[in-house]
C-alpha cells in the first residue's frame, strides 16, 4: 500500500464520478417511467398486459445484470452497423458511446425492479382510499393522481433507494463493455505502475461515498414526505 499511488488513483477515479452517476440516474429515470405504468397494469390486472408483464419481469429478474450488459454489447456489435445501414443512417458501432449500451441494459433491469417496488407500494394503499375518492366524486384518473400515487411514491422510497444504489454499483460493470467509469479510470491510471490494489481501494472509496450520499438524499426525501403527511 502506497498512499501517493492511492491519491493519484483517487484523482483519476473522481474524474469519472459524473459519468458513473449519470449511468445510474438515467436508467433509474427510465425505470420509473416504465416501471410505474407496468406496476399499474399488473396491480389492476389489465387482461393480457398483466400476464405479459408478469412473465417479462420474472425473466428479467432472473438474468444477471452482467449477462444482460454483455448480451446487449454483443447484439449491438453484431447488428448495429447493418441496421443503421439499412435505415440509411450515418451511425456506426465504433462511434456508438458504450455508455448507451450499458445504460440500455441497466434501464431494462431498473424498469423490472422498480415495477416490483411500485406494485408492492400500490398494494400497501388501503382499499378504503379508492372508495373514499370515488365517493367524493373523483374520476378514476383523478383518484389515481391525487389520492393513490401521492401515497405510493413515499412508500416506494426505501426500496427505490436500494435499487438506485444497486444501479450505481452496477455502473462498475460498465468497465466490462469498455465504458470508462470510476473503477475503470482508477485502474487505468495504475496500469503502468501495477498498483492495482491502490486502484481498487480508491474506486471502492469513491463508490462508497457516492452510495452513502445517495442514501442520505433518499432519507431526506423520506423525512420531507413524512413531515408533509403529519402536517
Amino acid at each position: 500500500m502506497d498512499l501517493s499511488y492511492l491519491w493519484s488513483a483517487l484523482q483519476a477515479g473522481a474524474g469519472k464520478i459524473l459519468p458513473t452517476v449519470v449511468l445510474a440516474l438515467v436508467p433509474f429515470g427510465i425505470g420509473v417511467l416504465l416501471g410505474l405504468p407496468a406496476a399499474l397494469g399488473r396491480y389492476f390486472r389489465v387482461p393480457v398486459l398483466k400476464q405479459t408483464l408478469d412473465v417479462l419481469v420474472s425473466l428479467i429478474k432472473g438474468i444477471p445484470v452482467l449477462l444482460m450488459l454483455m448480451a446487449f454489447y454483443v447484439i449491438s456489435s453484431q447488428s448495429f452497423d447493418s441496421v443503421m445501414q439499412s435505415l440509411g443512417l450515418p451511425f456506426s458501432f465504433r462511434g456508438l458511446p458504450k455508455g448507451l449500451i450499458a445504460g440500455a441494459a441497466l434501464a431494462v433491469y431498473a424498469a423490472a425492479a422498480l415495477s416490483e417496488v411500485f406494485r408492492g407500494a400500490l398494494a400497501s394503499v388501503p382499499k378504503g382510499q379508492y372508495d373514499a375518492a370515488y365517493a367524493c366524486g373523483l374520476s378514476k384518473s383523478q383518484a389515481m393522481r391525487r389520492i393513490i400515487l401521492p401515497q405510493v411514491l413515499p412508500v416506494s422510497l426505501p426500496m427505490g433507494c436500494n435499487i438506485m444504489i444497486a444501479l450505481i454499483k452496477s455502473a462498475a460493470l460498465g468497465s466490462l463493455v469498455s465504458f470508462i467509469d470510476v473503477m475503470n479510470a482508477a485502474v487505468n491510471s495504475m496500469a503502468a505502475s501495477y498498483r492495482f490494489l491502490e486502484a481498487y481501494i480508491a474506486a471502492a472509496l469513491i463508490y462508497w461515498g457516492i452510495c452513502v450520499i445517495t442514501e442520505q438524499l433518499f432519507k431526506l426525501l423520506e423525512h420531507h414526505f413524512a413531515r408533509r403527511r403529519t402536517a
Binding site: S58, G62, P64, L67, A204, Y207, V212
Partner: protein
Amino acid sequence: MKLFEPEAILRFLPKLLTALPVTLGIVLIASAAGLLLGLLLALSRVERLPVLSQLAAVMVSFLRGTPVLVQMFIVYYGLPLLLNTVGVNIFSWDKIIFIYITYSLNCAAFFSESIRSAVLAVPKGQRDAAAASGLSRAQAYRRIILPQSAVIALPSVGMTLTGLLQDSSLAFSLGILDVMGRANALGAVTSRVLEAYAAAAILFIALTIVFEQAFRGVQRKLAPQNHIAKGTA
C-alpha cells in the same frame, strides 16, 4: 453463418450444466459463511457491544456501498499482502478461495441488515418474558428471539440469495469457469457468443425461479399463523 442459431443453445446447455456446481458452490459457501458472520455482525449491533458495534456498522456500510467486482479485486490483491505482513503466505491459493471470501463478506453485510431489523422487530415484551422466566440472555436468543426473527428475516434473506446467485456471475472476471465463465469460453471458441449467453440466461432464470419457489415454500411452512392454527386445531 446464420446470425442466431437457436439449436446452438440446446447444444450449449449441457456444457453449461457442468459448470453449475461451481456457481452453486459459491452460493452455498457464501450463504453459509455469510449467515454465520452476518448473525455475529447483527447481534453485536443490536447488543451495542462497544467497538465491535461501530466496527460492524462501518464494515456493513462499506460492503453494501461498493460494487462486488471492486471488493473481489481488493480481496484478491489485498488479502495476500495483508496476511504477508504477519508472515502468512497465501499467494499460491486458488482464485476460487478469494471468490468464496469476497462473496461471504458481501453476503454477511446484507444478511446482517436483514437479521438486525428482524431481531428488532420481535416485540420487546418477548425479551422481558424470557428474562422473567429465568432464561439467560443467550438462552433467550436461542429459544425465543432468533426463531421468531428467522421467520421475519426469511423474505429478505431469500432476496439476498437470488441476488448472490446472479452476482456470482462476476467471478468469471477473475477467470473462474462458473456458468458465466463457461458461457464466455464457449462463445469465444464457437463464435456463437449470443447463443452461449442465451443458454446461460436460461440457466440463471431457471435457478432463480427454483430459489424463489423454494423460499416461498419454506416461508409458508414457517408462517406463524400456521403454527397457531395447528395449535388450536
